[in-house]
């Protein structure tokens, strides 16, 4: 997939990764709040070569009615990849993987959003992946929380997200597509920096207990970098740059 060399070295002797980054360096991240007129809130994120657009609606009426809850509002998330988002055309119907990621992102956002104040309503989050390059669930989660804030949904804290992983026996920050395919482990982390709480933690691969601890630590550092950019994106839209 992609145009990069298939026989690349994931980590060279100088500690430089296949795309020229250092081990603790994230990809280039750009977040923009707003942008969609018809959605109540929206955000766009470029996370390296990932390009993701998020639209939020609500709180609004729940349809179908039986899903509504008289005690609280509900959160619904749809993560969807465009057919052109990957190298070979992806069938547009929701795949097993997309259903999983929708659920995971929903559960990662739920501790942050305060929906008790909106009984019998739903907040809908629509995530469209325009271009994918590894780590879309983290990028999507980070963009979704910016879009929720843009929609004025009350939240305890923003949810920042970043992945960490293991490549060539080294713990690295922000795993890209090649490192995900050929690497030894991938750990996406969702984190609320203000409250110092983890809302998403998955692990694909094998790590020793020491590596695991280091991986979480490195991932949280990445989340803090994303958090600053999320704050900047909202400040740019609402306060004209000054926070």
């Amino acid at each position: 997939m992609g145009g990069r060399d298939a026989t690349m070295v994931l980590l060279d002797e100088n500690g430089i990764r296949c795309d020229g980054r250092k081990v603790d360096e994230p990809r280039k991240i750009m977040i923009k709040a707003g942008g969609l007129k018809n959605a109540d809130g929206s955000a766009y994120i470029e996370f390296g070569d990932n390009k993701i657009l998020v639209g939020v609606f609500g709180p609004r009426d729940v349809h179908p009615k039986h899903m509504s809850n008289t005690d609280t509002g509900i959160l619904r998330v749809r993560y969807h990849m465009e057919p052109f988002s990957v190298g070979e055309r992806k069938r547009p119907a929701p795949s097993r993987r997309e259903i999983e990621i929708s659920k995971v992102i929903k559960e990662a956002l739920e501790p942050a959003v305060l929906l008790k104040r909106f009984p019998r309503t739903a907040v809908d989050v629509f995530i469209e992946v325009l271009q994918a390059d590894g780590g879309t669930r983290c990028a999507a989660l980070a963009a979704a929380s910016v879009a929720l804030a843009d929609a004025g949904i009350p939240m305890r804290d923003m949810v920042a997200a970043c992945a960490a992983g293991k490549v060539a026996d080294t713990i690295i920050l922000d795993v890209n597509n090649e490192e995900d395919q050929a690497g030894q482990a991938d750990m996406p982390i969702g984190y609320m920096p203000g409250l110092e709480k983890i809302t998403l933690l998955q692990l694909d691969g094998v790590l020793t207990p020491e590596e695991y601890k280091k991986c979480v630590r490195v991932g949280i550092e990445g989340c803090k970098i994303v958090y600053e950019l999320q704050k900047k994106a909202l400040a740019e839209k609402y306060f004209g740059g000054s926070s």
């Binding site: 109540d40 942050a112 004025g152 009350p154 305890r156 804290d157 000054s242």
Partner: protein, 225 residues
Amino acid sequence: MERRKNVIPGDVITSGPFRPEQNVILEDKNIISTVVGVSEIYDDTVRVIPFAGKYIPKIDDLVVGKILSHTSLSWELDINSCYVGFLPAQDVFGRDFSAHADELTSKLKQGDMVAVRIANFDRTRDPLVTIGDRDLGKIDNGILVKISPGTIPRLIGKKGSMIQMIENATDAAVTIGQNGWVVVSCESTEGLLKAKEAVIMVDQKAHVANLTEEVKKMLESRNES
């Protein structure tokens, strides 16, 4: 310490002995904002005026609504919220209302604008509204300006200072619905347009400090020309 501050969700506003009010939560000892907006510390209370978000009905709020439809016993109102307002016919016709003798459309038709008060609202039912009070009822003239519900406190100002200033400068009557719908009416077209402009200006510049001064300047500048 700064009294006003731009905040986003998760920002710590203060950690002193304050009472958390709208749009803030108490987490340990810190008072944290839950929305994007401007934080305000008044006496011993902390609140955040949000820049985005839908209107959530509160009992005793005055709101401006639009008649969506009616059944034989009640009207349904769009109150710019995730819930629809429910106006029972007895409220308009009085206690001797009878479903076959009285025609609801004779009083309020679809599309009519009304000023109503939220009489009752809880998590199990849609908000019940009433027009049986002073200053309430059908709105016959004026223009509707839709602004963000969060900036309504800014439009009213401290003890009504902002809105009084706008009304005095333009001779317009401004009905402010807490749901973000504002009706401006005035005898002169000039005053009407100016008052409308002032309301929109408050909405767009809600985060600016000394907004009253700026609005005042705007209102005066047009008076001279």
